[in-house]
C-alpha cells in the first residue's frame, strides 16, 4: 500500500463514505419503514462495516444460483464487550471484590471518554450544533443494543 497516497488522501475517503450514508439515509424523512435503513445496512456490510446486525452472504451449497444471507448479532457493539455498557452499583461491588471495583469504575469512565471521542471525531467529519446531545443518544443506543445482545457464552 502506498503510504504517501494514504497520507495525501487524509480524511477524504472517510468523508466520501459518510456522504453516501447521509444520502442513503437522510435525517429529514418522515418514515423509517421505507427500507432505507435496511438498504444502508447492506451497503455498509459490503464495505466491511457492521451496523445493528452482522451480515454474511454466501452461495447455497446445494444450488449456486441461490444466495444465503445470514443475519446475526454483532460481535462488538462499539466498545470491546457488553460489560462496558453496564450500569452497576460500584459501592456494592467494592465490598465484594476490590478488583471488580477497579474494572467497573473503568467501564463508566471509559464510556465517558468513548462519548467524548465520538463528539470530537464525528464533529470533525460531520459537524452538527447538537453533537453533544446526539453523541449521548448514540451511546445510549449502544447500551440498549448491548443489553439486547446475547452474552458471549450463549452465542
Amino acid at each position: 500500500m502506498d503510504r504517501d497516497k494514504i497520507k495525501k488522501d487524509g480524511v477524504k475517503p472517510l468523508l466520501e463514505i459518510i456522504k453516501q450514508i447521509t444520502d442513503m439515509f437522510p435525517v429529514n424523512k418522515r418514515h423509517t419503514d421505507e427500507g432505507d435503513l435496511g438498504y444502508t445496512i447492506g451497503y455498509l456490510a459490503k464495505l466491511g462495516v457492521t451496523a445493528f446486525v452482522s451480515l454474511g452472504a454466501s452461495a447455497d451449497d446445494k444450488d449456486p444460483d441461490v444466495v444465503v444471507v445470514q443475519v446475526t448479532t454483532p460481535d462488538s457493539i462499539g466498545l470491546p464487550a457488553k460489560d462496558y455498557y453496564e450500569d452497576t452499583n460500584i459501592v456494592y461491588v467494592f465490598l465484594e471484590f476490590a478488583i471488580d471495583c477497579y474494572i467497573l469504575e473503568t467501564y463508566r469512565s471509559c464510556r465517558k471518554k468513548y462519548e467524548e471521542t465520538l463528539v470530537q471525531v464525528v464533529n470533525a467529519t460531520h459537524p452538527s450544533n447538537a453533537i453533544r446531545n446526539i453523541a449521548h443518544n448514540v451511546v445510549e443506543l449502544e447500551k440498549k443494543l448491548a443489553s439486547a445482545s446475547p452474552d458471549a457464552e450463549d452465542k
Binding site: I6, K7, G10, L14, I17, I21, T22, F25, V27, K29, T32, D33, E34, G35, D36, L37, G38, Y39, T40, G42, L44, A45, K46, G48, V49, T50, A51, V53, L55, A57, D65, V66, V67, V68, V69, Q70, V71, T73, P80, I99, Y102, T106, C110, Y114, T117, Q120, V121, V122, T125, H126, A130, I134, A135, N137, V138, L141, L145, A148, S149, P150
Partner: protein, 98 residues
Amino acid sequence: MKDANALTPQIKLTKMIDSLAPSDVKTKRLIIFSPSFMQNLSTILDHTSRETIQTYLIWKVIQTYASAVEAEETKPYMRFRNELQGKVSSFLRILACF
C-alpha cells in the same frame, strides 16, 4: 420473507438483502440466528430518532476505517482505542496474578 420483514419493520430485511446480494441473483434465502434479537431491535429503533441512527451509522464507519486513514480528524479515536487496549491488557495481567 414477509415474516422476516415483520420482525424488524424499520430495517426491511428484504431491502438489506437487495443491497447485499448481487442483483443478478434471483433467489435469496435468509437465515436469522436470533429472531428475538430482531424483535428487540425493532423496539429499540422505535424509540430512536433518525438523527441518532444516522450518527450511529457514521460512527460505525469511523470506527471501522479510522486505522486505514491518516487524518487529524480520526486521531482522537485511535488514541482512545490504544488506551483501551492498554487497560484491557492490564486487567488481564492483574487477573493472571490470582
